[in-house]
Symmetry: C2
Amino acid sequence: MQRYKKDLDYSYALGTELTLEALKKRPSDVLNVYVHSKQNDNKIYQEIDYLAKTNNIEIIKSDKAFNIVNAKENCYIMASIKKFSNPIEANKNHVVLVNPSNMGNLGSIIRTMLGFGIYDLAIITPAVDLYDPKVIRATMRAFFLLRFNFYNSFEDYLKENPGRNIYPFMLDGKEKLQNVKKQELYSLVFGNEATGLDSSFQQYNSVYIEQLDTIDSFNLNNAVSIACYEFTKDKLKL
Amino acid sequence: MQRYKKDLDYSYALGTELTLEALKKRPSDVLNVYVHSKQNDNKIYQEIDYLAKTNNIEIIKSDKAFNIVNAKENCYIMASIKKFSNPIEANKNHVVLVNPSNMGNLGSIIRTMLGFGIYDLAIITPAVDLYDPKVIRATMRAFFLLRFNFYNSFEDYLKENPGRNIYPFMLDGKEKLQNVKKQELYSLVFGNEATGLDSSFQQYNSVYIEQLDTIDSFNLNNAVSIACYEFTKDKLKL
């Protein structure tokens, strides 16, 4: 094993909760489970131990492994996981992020969109590394339910996902979020943290979140959250 | 000058934008402006230079200062600023954060609430340090407009701010956010990132943001954003 790098074909789920979730949701993608000598023989550990053995996954007792991945102080269990793919579905609503650059933002966006029942994320590259352990950690357990694709351009995304209602979020969008007619199947599209979306996106149903000029714009993560809330409100299938 | 610590009576505004904003909004609280040798003599620098001189603030040319505060690579201008106070107003709507523990979250919450025209933040301690340069930076320029108070308990907050409509956000809140009757003057109350609010807050108009069980809860920052959006929607005084 080695420290995480973008070109590795595996990543790490750090911590008890994430490891358990990986074993439950994607057992065939879990390579190894690592356990630190400080881990207690508690109930959640026993569940992890049981699931690993059931799936023929080796449990490696090693303190050094946690140093290698630079795990946080209280992280005593982790799993190495294959960089699996789980493609988006054309007949579902999507979030599309154009060149997202912040790992914490990306993880938190994934957590929130899954909370609102939007499981499908299209990422237009270049973008921050979705598989980075920091992103996975920030999604909490949502990562293992996410469907995701990468595209080189928004045009490539449209080609593979035709006939959708495209709602780009722009500071100079045409319609206010609460007033916009929300038609399925939709794609909620957001630009890079610093630069937003370019004006070519005005050809679609561009949307703005009304704000005062006390700030330049909302944080990307917050803008996506508000958008997902408003688009899914009263439609969640609980 | 020295590296930032919680018990200093000043903090730092890191970067050109924040320094400019500090000089514009709170010139009497700016102690010094620091300029790195790599800073160009551009328009924004000239504005900072002009405002500093107008307000008799010393401009110190020092590369070492940027090492001391551990500034990011592209940060070539910064200001040391007094830890000013700017008390909340009783006749305005408030956000109340009970024991917030994450700096990035806090900064981003401030940015978003200001964007929605909620200028008043009550923080129930213990809490992350509002004056930490990382928090200030994450607020973007919103920090210098914020009104804020610290309280040792929610009871202390209520004592000083009586007769308000209290909306605690809880996973097991009584009313769904979109359905709740939103009455001014309101206090939107949120618990700590990990532990939320305790059940004693059920005595007020507790609110929940509907979500699927794909996640445990929304990120605090996102929950506050969604709440502020829904409470201020169509009421912003632009």
